[in-house]
Amino acid sequence: MDRRKSLKAIALGTLSTGLLVDACKDSDKKVIEEKAIPESNVAGNLDRYPAEVEQYKKITSYTFFTAHEMATITLLADIIIPQDEISGSASDAKVPEFIEFIVKDMPDHQVPMRGGLKWLDIQCNKRFEKAFKDCSLSQQIEIVNEIAYPVKAKPEMKQGVAFFNRMRNLTASGFYTSEIGVADMGFKGNAPNQWNGVPDEVLKQYNLAYSEKELKECISFDVKK
C-alpha cells in the first residue's frame, strides 16, 4: 500500500477492511485456532480483550452517586470549568458522567469523593442551613473560596481543600479529554501527517535553528500545499 493510499484509508477509517486484509487471507487459512476478540460495546469501539469487556459491563451495571450527589458534582464542575469565550462548561462536556464512571473504575476515589461531598453539605448546613446544591450562587462561591486556594485556606478547611483539589483534577481530566476540551486546548495532533520539524516562526521565536547536520540527515517533506 503506498503512503497516500494508506493515509487516505486511515482518514476514511477503511484501512482495516482494505488492502491489508487481502494480504493476510492466505495466511489466515493456516491458523489452527484463531481466537478472535469478541466485539465489545465499549465507547469508540476500542480493541478490548475479554476480561476488559467483563470489567466494563460490571462498572456500567450500577450507579454510584445519588441524584443529590450528582447535582452537587455538576454544580462544582461548572464552577471549576464554566463556559467562557473559548469553550463550553464542564457539564457541556459531560464531565459529571465521566466522574460517575471513573470513581467506579478507580475505587480509591469513592470514599474521598462521597465523604468530601458530605463534608461540603455539612459546612453549608452549619453556615446557611442548606445543602450546597440548595444554597444561592453567592453562598456557594463563599464556601468554594475557602477551599479552592490551598496556600491561603484556613487550617480547619484543609479537608475541604483536599476534596476540592481532587474535584478540580477530576474535572480537568474529564473536560480536557472531551471533544470540547481538546479543541479548547488547541491540541492539533492525533491525525496522520508528515512531521517536518518545528515551524519556522516558532524556531525564530525561541532563537533556534536546525543545524546543518540535522537538516542533512533528518527526513524532510515538501511543504507545498
Binding site: C24, K30, G44, I102, R168, T177, V198
Partner: protein, 579 residues
C-alpha cells in the same frame, strides 16, 4: 469427571517454538523461510495491529480517558494484553525482595507496545568482565553478532544516524525525524552540561521499505501498535510473513506446561493447556525453541524435570533462573518556563523521543561500573486522564500572563492557567546496566501453582550498591541538564539514600534477561554460543534468557539478532543431521 486425557496432535513438526515475541517471531520467520514446518505456541490470543485497533482513537473513545487499569497498566489505549498482575497467573517473591514482572499474553507479546528503542550492543557490552572484572564475558563478541544486526536493520527497519561512536555502533539507518522544540532545548542544555545528544534509534519506518508495510504517519502512538505496520511488532512484521509461507501453524491461547523429553533425554515436543477449553494437549517436533521471555523460558525448563534431567531441563549447571537482571531506571520531570503560553501545532512526531543521549563517560573516573543512556520526553501531548493534574502546585508559583495568582482556584481564570501551562513539561529517564549476579534469581516456588496447575516462579533479586550509585549519578546529571536548560524540577528531584535515589525496583523497566545464559563452560552456563542447550542439543532458547549481560541497551534488537543467528545455525544443524 472423566480421565485426564492429553490430546496429542498427529502432525509432526520440524520445530516447536514457544512464544511469539521478538525471539519467537524471528525464529519462526527464519525457519519458515528455510522451508521447515513450524508450530508456534502463544499463551495469549491472536493479535493483528491492522485489526485490533486503538490507534488514532479520540481521548473520549475511552470511557476512562486513557487511564490505566490492572488490565492495561500503560493506559487504556496501550496495545498490550496482560500486565503486572494477571488473574490466575501469580508469582511470588522471597522475603522483602521486590520483583515486578510484566507479561503480555498475545501474538507478538510485548513487541506490540514496546518503545521501539533499537540499540545494538557495542563491543564493550560483550566483554564486561575483561573490562572491570565484574559479571562474565559473553562467549561471543560484537563481530560475531554484527552481520546479524546489519540484517535485522535492513529486514525490520530502524532510523538513526551513524555517529562513529565506539560502543554505540553504526548501522543501516533510515533518516531520523527532526527534533521537536523541547528536544532542541534539551540538546542545547545537555550539550552545555557535557552530555552528548544524538538522534534516537527507533524501529519505525520513516521511509517505506517493502510493500507489506506502510511508512510512519507521525501520530506518536507506537505503543498502540501501528495499523499500517510502520513500526516493529513481531505480530505484524515477523509472524505474519512467516505464516504466509504456509509453513507455520500458530496455536493461540496455548500455555506451555513442560518440554517433553524421551529416555535419551532429548526433547520431543511441548505439552500445553489450552486456555479456551482447559484441556491438555501436546505437539511434537524434532527441535524445541523457547522464546517465552527470560523468566517464562526459565520457568518452563525448571518445570521440565525428568530422570535424565532431575534439576530441570538444560540445568545440570544449576544456572537456569540465575543471573536475572533488569535495566536500572530513574527519572525526573520539570517544566520549561520559556515554553509557557506556547504556540499550538502538531508536534506528535514518532512514538518516542527523536533524540537521546548514549552513555558518554569513562567509568574509571566514577564510583560505579557500566553506563546508562538517557531517554527524553515532553511537549504538547494528546490529553488523557490526569491532564492538568496538580495545577495548584504550578499556578501560584509562576506568573500567568504576567499576573501573580493565588495557587489553586477555579473558573475562567483557571481555564486560562490550563492553557498557559500546556506543553511546557520536560522529562528525562535513565536506563542503565545492572551487573548480573548469580544470587539474583527466580526459582520454582515449591508451594504455589497457577490456575492451570503449573508451578510458579518465586523471585529473589536485590540491587547492589553499584546500581544505587548509578541512580544517584543519573539524578545529578538530570538536575544539571534541567538547570542548564532553565527548567524547574517538579518531580523526582528529592530522592536520596532513603529511597535508593529513586531507583526503580527490579523488573519495572521490563528488560529482564540472563536466566538461561550462554557460555563456553557447560558448568557455568545453560546454552552454548549458538543459544543451544549444553545438556540437550535439540533445545534452543532465543529470548532474553540467553543474555550474559545487557549493556545499557534495550535488549530487543539483540534478541532479534541472536534469534536470527541461532535459527540459522539450527537450520544448518538439521541439514547436517546433527539434530
Amino acid at each position: 469427571m472423566g480421565n485426564l486425557q492429553v490430546k496429542a496432535a498427529s502432525k509432526k513438526y520440524d520445530v516447536i517454538i514457544v512464544g511469539s515475541g521478538a525471539g519467537g517471531g524471528m525464529s519462526a520467520y527464519i525457519l519458515a523461510n528455510a522451508g521447515l514446518k513450524v508450530c508456534l505456541l502463544e499463551a495469549g490470543p491472536m493479535f493483528d495491529p491492522a485489526k485490533n485497533i486503538t490507534q488514532l482513537k479520540k481521548p473520549w473513545d475511552s470511557p476512562r480517558r486513557g487511564a490505566s487499569t490492572k488490565l492495561r497498566p500503560f493506559g487504556d489505549f496501550d496495545a498490550s494484553y496482560g500486565g503486572w498482575d494477571i488473574e490466575g497467573e501469580p508469582y511470588t517473591t522471597e522475603g522483602d525482595t521486590k520483583w515486578d514482572w510484566f507479561r503480555s499474553r498475545m501474538l507478538g507479546g510485548r513487541t506490540n507496545h514496546w518503545g521501539r528503542i533499537s540499540l545494538r550492543f557495542g563491543p564493550k557490552d560483550f566483554k564486561g568482565r575483561s573490562i572491570d572484572g565484574l559479571g562474565d564475558d559473553w562467549p561471543i563478541s560484537y563481530d560475531d553478532v554484527k552481520p546479524f544486526y546489519d540484517r535485522v536493520d535492513k529486514l525490520i527497519g530502524v532510523f538513526g544516524t551513524n555517529e562513529g561512536l565506539v560502543n554505540d555502533p553504526d548501522g543501516f539507518f533510515l533518516p531520523p525525524p527532526k527534533p521537536r522544540l523541547h528536544e532542541l532545548l534539551i540538546k542545547k542544555g545537555a550539550t552545555s552540561a557535557g552530555v552528548n545528544v544524538i538522534p534516537s534509534r527507533l524501529s519505525i519506518l520513516t521511509q517505506q521499505i517493502n510493500k507489506e508495510r506502510g511508512a510512519c504517519f507521525y501520530c506518536s502512538q507506537c505503543s498502540r501498535s501501528c495499523q499500517v505496520y510502520a513500526d516493529f511488532s513481531s505480530s505484524s512484521v515477523l509472524v505474519k510473513p512467516a505464516m504466509a509461507t504456509g509453513n507455520v501453524d500458530v496455536i493461540a491461547n496455548a500455555m506451555a506446561r513442560e518440554v517433553l523429553t524421551n529416555k535419551e533425554g532429548l526433547a520431543t515436543g511441548i505439552s500445553y493447556v489450552s486456555k479456551d477449553d482447559l484441556q491438555e494437549y501436546s505437539v511434537s517436533g524434532r527441535v524445541v525453541v523457547l522464546a517465552a521471555s527470560a523468566c517464562e523460558s526459565a520457568r518452563l525448563l525448571l518445570n521440565s524435570r525428568s530422570a535424565r534431567h532431575p534439576n530441570g531441563l538444560a540445568n545440570s549447571s544449576d544456572v537456569v533462573g540465575r543471573y536475572l537482571h533488569d535495566s536500572t531506571g530513574a527519572s525526573m520531570s520539570g517544566v520549561l518556563p520559556h515554553l509557557f503560553d506556547r504556540k499550538r501545532y502538531n508536534e506528535d512526531g514518532v512514538g518516542g523521543a527523536h533524540v537521546y543521549s548514549p552513555w558518554w563517560l569513562d567509568n574509571k573516573k566514577l564510583d560505579f561500573p557500566r553506563g546508562y543512556h538517557i531517554e527524553y520526553g515532553g511537549g504538547m501531548s494528546n490529553p488523557s486522564y490526569g491532564f492538568g493534574g496538580g495545577i495548584e502546585s504550578l499556578n501560584g508559583k509562576f506568573l500567568v500572563k504576567g499576573k501573580q495568582k493565588e495557587a489553586g482556584g477555579y473558573g475562567k481564570s483557571l481555564k486560562e492557567d490550563y492553557r498557559f501551562f500546556y506543553g511546557a513539561g520536560v522529562h528525562m529517564a535513565g536506563r542503565g546496566e545492572a551487573i548480573a549476579y548469580k544470587d539474583n534469581y527466580c526459582a520454582i516456588d515449591p508451594n504455589v501453582v497457577d490456575k492451570y496447575g503449573i508451578p510458579v516462579l518465586k523471585f529473589n533479586v536485590k540491587w547492589s550498591e553499584y546500581e544505587i550509585k548509578q541512580a544517584k549519578h543519573m539524578k545529578e546529571t538530570f538536575k544539571e541538564i534541567m538547570h542548564s536548560m532553565g527548567a524547574i524540577v517538579t518531580s523526582g528531584g528529592d530522592d536520596g539514600p532513603e529511597n535508593d535515589y529513586g531507583l526503580a525496583s527490579p523488573g519495572k523497566i521490563i528488560h529482564e534477561a540472563g536466566t538461561v545464559r550462554m557460555g563456553n563452560d557447560a558448568k557455568k552456563s545453560a546454552l552454548n554460543k549458538f543459544s543451544q542447550a549444553h545438556d540437550c542439543k535439540n533445545v534452543f532458547v532465543v529470548d532474553g534468557g540467553q543474555f550474559v549481560s545487557q549493556g545499557d541497551k534495550n535488549i530487543t534488537w539483540t534478541i532479534l539478532a541472536l534469534s536470527m543467528r541461532a535459527s540459522e545455525y539450527l537450520v544448518d544443524e538439521l541439514k547436517k543431521q546433527n539434530l
